[in-house]
Amino acid sequence: MITRRILMASVAALGLAGAAFADGHAKTKVGFVYVGPVGDGGWTYEHDQGRLAVEEAFGDAVETVYVENVAEGPDSERVMTQMALDGADLIFTTSFGYMDPTINVAKKFPNVKFEHATGYKRADNVSTYSARFYEGRAVQGHIAGKMTKSNIIGYIASYPIPEVIRGINAAYLHAKAVNPDVEFKIIWAFTWFDPQKEADSAKALIEQGADVVLQHTDSTAPQAAAQAAGNVVTFGQASDMAEYAPFPRVSSIIDNWAPYYIARTKAVMDGTWESVDTWDGIPTGMVKIGEITDAVPADVKAEALAMVEAMRKGEYHPFTGPINKQDGSAWLAEGETASDGDLAGMSFYVEGLTGDIPN
């Protein structure tokens, strides 16, 4: 009995190693692990668009597989292992919560490449990638500051994590720059996904005088609420939400993973893949600004496009000093730009925002 167990364990070890070296297949196999359903119309939907772009770009040379609705934790670890066992060469794990499972599985399969979205742990065969959505937020903030008449801008936030806080700060700084009287009202929905709560949040903000609503949640519920109210401006989030253009949706931030996914797949095919930490934004097209509609005055639109262009060329950084923290202490000096380290872990509001970040 005992010998049999040992035998099984060694077979298991061999099996894992064997699978990792089984590189005989002609097609490059790319796996995607999704946290939501591909029909969520937001986060996962856009990742799946990236997967489809990979198939489009390489045709028969690649095979893509995906599993949707994968819970973070042991389920994700199992799904990743299974993809690796089935001979995947490259696996994209598309949620922050997959960080430790990705590292665990990557250790077992040194020859499989992993790409983890929005995390900070890397290894020889694990890259990380994320998007500088705050660049898009800066553009939104500018348009919002110019377009608000009540000087109240509503913001629907999900959870108080650096990504969301960065977005609020970027939007606020740029709204404030063009409109010193602007005030932000922030609702923390404490959910990633609950269209009904998003609808209620948008309504509450509108009823309290907000005539621009920014959202860090993925459903179109706030767009519909704004449309019903009649005179409220919104922006698409994650996907274009063009069905609400030209008004209330006047522009959008689109997650555009396709260029990155295609490039990384190509790198695996060419044997040039290396572990990198990618944090791309407007310059590479990972963050796309959806069409600014004619509901935005022409001069404001021109300014916004100029800002986009400046960021694209790398001439402008949305967090350029002088910027103080909420408590008045200095953060960035005149002309200084924020370091990526500061931005990645951002857990404070900038000066002028009211209220506290939960915990």
């Binding site: 939501g36 359903p37 029909g39 969520d40 119309g41 937001g42 939907y45 509503g154 009202k185 922030i186 609702i187 923390w188 404490f190 959910t191 996904f193 609950d194 269209p195 009904q196 709560k197 998003e198 609808a199 209620d200 949040s201 309504k203 509450a204 903000l205 009823e207 309290q208 005088g209 907000a210 459903s219 179109t220 519920a221 519909a224 019903a228 996907s239 939400m241 069905e243 609400y244 009211t354 209220g355 506290d356 939960p358 915990n359």
Partner: protein, 306 residues
């Protein structure tokens, strides 16, 4: 902090919208439970209703037709539950849970081509003079027709259960199925009809979310509201009026906590987010002095054995 920013009139108007899906689903389930059947599949029936209604509304351009087909969709799904529990005499609790699982799956399959589609809007009922009245106008006379349908439904169900002969029969079946059967009532038929009614109501409640409240289609968009509806039936001690009050209370606290956040109230957000659930529990503790109990044969399997 600025409480002046919260307009109580608008608050009440929007809590009525927030509560409407709950009212539909809870009233339907209430009738089912009054007939002695516990169907835990409300969430599944709601989401199937949400997508059925959405598809029909998009294809025909008529939200009202959408609501009708949402009712049909919900009822069709509940028919599975009826077959399982009334004909195959399966245990009701897991059957209802299985129904939820199926409903979530079926709705996703049905809705694959409808992600990112914008449904036709349901026009608000604007009654010339009444809608413009200062306080009562926004609260009472400026909603979509489906919301009023919900209120009418509450009244009808109340009348049916308390004043009609058929309602009396239904309650008798729920109270003591064996005795009702002995008196010559067709227990199984009555229960199947009640289940179908519950499914139809849940379907309409779901479609209200996908067509009016949100309006869009995304997988899993009911996000647990069916469970709240189930809890409300218990909360209401199986009384239609109280179910409506419960839905308003729950919707009200939900909307209020968001308004308080926007107004900058200095209570930690996580406690505000918990408040709808905690307040529901607290109110229930106060109400439980009233010991009107559940229908006598709730959840029990009935078989006419001779």
């Amino acid at each position: 902090m600025n409480f002046g920013a919260i307009d109580p009139v608008l608050l009440i108007a929007s809590l009525m919208v927030a509560a409407t899906p709950l009212i539909f689903a809870a009233i339907g389930e209430l009738v089912v439970e009054k007939a002695g059947v516990l169907n835990l599949g409300v969430e599944g029936m709601m989401i199937v209703g949400a997508i059925s209604g959405f598809i029909i509304a998009v294809e025909t351009g008529s939200p009202m037709l959408g609501l009708l087909f949402a009712a049909i969709g919900g009822a069709l799904l509940s028919l599975l539950f009826a077959i399982l529990t009334q004909l195959a005499l399966a245990t009701q609790v897991p059957s209802g849970l299985a129904l939820t699982l199926m409903g979530l799956g079926i709705s996703s399959l049905m809705g694959q081509d409808y992600v990112g589609v914008k449904p036709p809007t349901m026009a608000r009922l604007d009654i010339p003079v009444l809608s413009d009245l200062p306080v009562v106008g926004p609260i009472l006379y400026s909603h979509d027709p489906a919301l009023y349908l919900g209120l009418v439904l509450v009244a009808c169900v109340w009348w049916f259960l308390n004043r009609s002969r058929a309602g009396l029969t239904l309650r008798a079946v729920g109270e003591n199925a064996e005795a009702a059967f002995a008196l010559g009532y067709k227990v199984v038929r009555i229960r199947v009809l009640a289940i179908l009614f519950g499914g139809a109501c849940a379907g309409v409640g779901g479609a209200y979310i996908s067509l009016v409240r949100v309006p869009q289609w995304t997988e899993g968009m009911t996000a647990g509201i069916g469970w709240i509806a189930l809890a409300l039936v218990v909360f209401a001690s199986w009384k239609p009026g109280r179910a409506m009050i419960g839905a308003y209370l729950f919707g009200g606290v939900t909307v209020l906590q968001l308004n308080l956040q926007a107004a900058g109230l200095a209570i930690p957000v996580e406690y505000l987010s918990m408040s709808p659930y905690i307040i529901t529990i607290l109110v229930l503790v106060f109400l439980s002095a009233d010991r009107s109990s559940a229908p006598g044969s709730l959840g029990r399997i009935f078989h006419a054995s001779r």
